[in-house]
Symmetry: D2
Subunit: 250 residues, 4 copies
């Protein structure tokens, strides 16, 4: 590579690595831009937005490239109050600031994503549990989750693209039997919590949303065994074996 | 009122009250439907969806009324997989089940809403805190939250109507200085947690989202004073007075 | 029963039931006291404390009974600052207030218990996980949890009776292999959260501690399946089947 | 310093720094031990336990020193099941493993401490809130927290040294009016969450306990303002000004 060349890291890198790399490349005159993208596998149809960090002049130089990749305003309504604000944000790309900011903003985006997903997930779980044997007759409901998800897409306060996806999944698999419930995470959620810790900012929902994923990947946590051991210790409680569990559990 | 008349409770009532009331009215032949609505003050422009509970025949009889009030399919894309599913959900109204289900489903809707809102709120807080003095130079960012919110409306995974509202608020008040940060709750969030407790379903995010609102309404909690008292007890730590706090806090 | 007789409910009843029952019994002249006890199966050796609610005169009349049952001061050091405070608390029994307070105070005791247990449980889980394959060489540790629990009993800030019980369990079963990790709850934890909701007081730790128990009793939650379904929706992520899970999980 | 000299870091250092430092010192033949201690300002009276990490031979050589500093078995009852276990843990000091383990174990100790403290804090807060105006007459209680804390020291399941400290504080300041409620944290709690994130272990209670401290140090969080802004956006809700807050808040 030659001086004035530009490297674009368009993946989900850790923003501190961007800072390190761009600093390292500076003496060689090579520009380094960190660009977070969001849109998932639907990017081609729906478009995907770009969060750009790095040297501002470099970002400026590559503006035509970003403008081409970005979805443009499409038919998304203009935000009231932005009539006089000049920004490429409405085009679907944004220069966020110095090196690292592109991936930092993308990281927070993913942290939020985990929280949103968990909020829907818990809500549907409670809807599903309305059919629980634990509930008194007359206060137990067998609800059609697929229809409810579809309904909420229509003018409700919680309409969103993630809800659209939930509605799609429920439409063809009403009990979501095709899923084991093992949920992975891709790193940005953890970095988001780490950023919150470093800033001293509370992130209860974002962290708890991540931890439920960790838990989903274990048969049983050691923590749970410690609880059982203590319960036996003070109360003589013997937890039922797994066979019983299947019946008692939800 | 005469037999065969129908009462529609279109507010945010507690679903157990619906069950009680409809049972009470049954002998008199008066029908009682509980109808949750979502759409807020934007209902007139955006439409609002209807969640209906009660006697199915009554709901059937009033179908023209609900069909008229409901937003209809509008220009919202059809959910893949629903091509052969017959349901009024796509019209924006849905018979959910026996008495109480309309408000039960609306209650969960609001519980989810609290979780979604808190996820965005924490994310923006961490973006805002990227400017914190606690961070090392070169890893501290001054981000434009209004532009970021706008950007995320464009093809991102976390696009939603709530995000649209956040973008609108930030467009005209970038630091949200016009808000004190005192946040109320309207009851459904609490009932959602209560339902989770009765079902035995975990609702970490929904409950924590509610508790941050409780906390926002207090100068300081007694819990915090207990923490300070213990810290002084074992470590001799004296917490700084409020004046110092202003400087040290974020 | 005759007027002036007294009923003592010494179980773990719901405090609102106490209020209802004592009100119901009032016209008949029968006294009703709600008495929460804590000490578990070790009560005989360690003593157990008594939390008493109801009519004060009745409680006064039965004072000799409570004084006999209570553990007395034993060799527990006097609390500094209580030299001039007159109270039976140091004897291990306490009149807490009107009907319901005995069980209300016991309920909160159990709520706290859940939180304390979960704090230890998570700590031991992280100690245990220090041996995880996810960690880089040189930063992965194989720790002796039994010895660590024992050590912390010796002058540490987190010494407690619950820790004593954990140390006992770990002494004879270092991996706690004898426990399935299925953890029940007995009701008071749920009521504690309900009380917090009614008061408008934040109870993040107490509620989350309860929810981990709910989760421990399910193979997989529906919430987790919703997460997987959404992840597949936006990212094309296919979660690995359970067989893979065993290897990848902790 | 000369080869074979030993450095003991007896503070609250980050365990990864220990690993780095001991590796750095290795070529020079200087030994480096990381020793976490717990006992607080009461160490002199109550003793304090020692968690030791580093080269085992070095730790062995300094055993007399640790044995002298450690509290010894005192009058703390022997843990059932440890009759045949040989370990210095009962003396109040323990070699935990290679470099970093001493501070790693101490770090987790502090993480647990935060969780325990928050559990008590929330419990007392709910006891305190039983007097709330939000509650119906007859179900509102004015409880004596100082006496309740004292009572729980007597045979209850939640007796602990931290409870002793809470009882001491409440004995002389029943409303804890001497505390502002501004709560600091000293770093180990954050590192504990970071370790959990790296291991992929859930730590809901420990993280939430830390976040309440973060929150206690802010007048209002930006997150709360985002919530208010959204509520105004969809519901037209105008949050009351702070003056009203004082009356409405707890």
């Amino acid at each position: 590579m030659a001086p004035a060349d530009a490297i674009i890291d368009g993946g989900n890198s850790f923003y501190k690595d961007d800072v390190r790399r761009s600093t390292m490349l500076k003496p060689s005159g090579i520009h380094y831009l960190d660009v977070g993208t969001s849109g998932g596998v639907w990017g081609l149809q729906r478009g995907y937005c770009l969060m750009i960090g790095g040297d501002q002049a470099s970002a400026q130089r590559l503006d035509p490239l970003f403008a081409t990749l970005a979805p443009g305003p499409g038919n998304i309504p203009k935000t009231p109050g932005r009539e006089r604000i000049k920004s490429t944000a409405e085009q679907g790309y944004l220069y966020c600031g110095p090196s690292g900011t592109g991936h930092f903003v993308k990281m927070i985006h993913n942290g939020i994503e985990y929280g949103l997903m968990q909020a829907y997930a818990e809500g549907f779980d409670i809807l599903c549990g309305a059919n629980s044997d634990n509930l008194p007759a007359g206060l137990s409901y067998n609800l059609n989750l697929a229809d409810i998800a579809e309904l909420w897409r229509r003018g409700s306060v919680i309409s969103s693209w993630l809800l659209d996806l939930a509605a799609t999944a429920l439409a063809s698999d009403r009990q979501l039997d095709g899923y084991t419930g093992f949920v992975q995470d891709s790193g940005e959620g953890r970095w988001t919590i780490q950023a919150a810790l470093e800033e001293g900012v509370s992130a209860e929902v974002l962290s708890v949303a991540l931890f439920t994923r960790f838990r989903s990947r274990r048969e049983h946590s050691f923590a749970e065994k410690v609880l059982s051991a203590m319960r036996k210790g003070f109360g003589g409680h013997i937890e039922p074996p797994p066979a019983v569990k299947m019946k008692q559990g939800l």
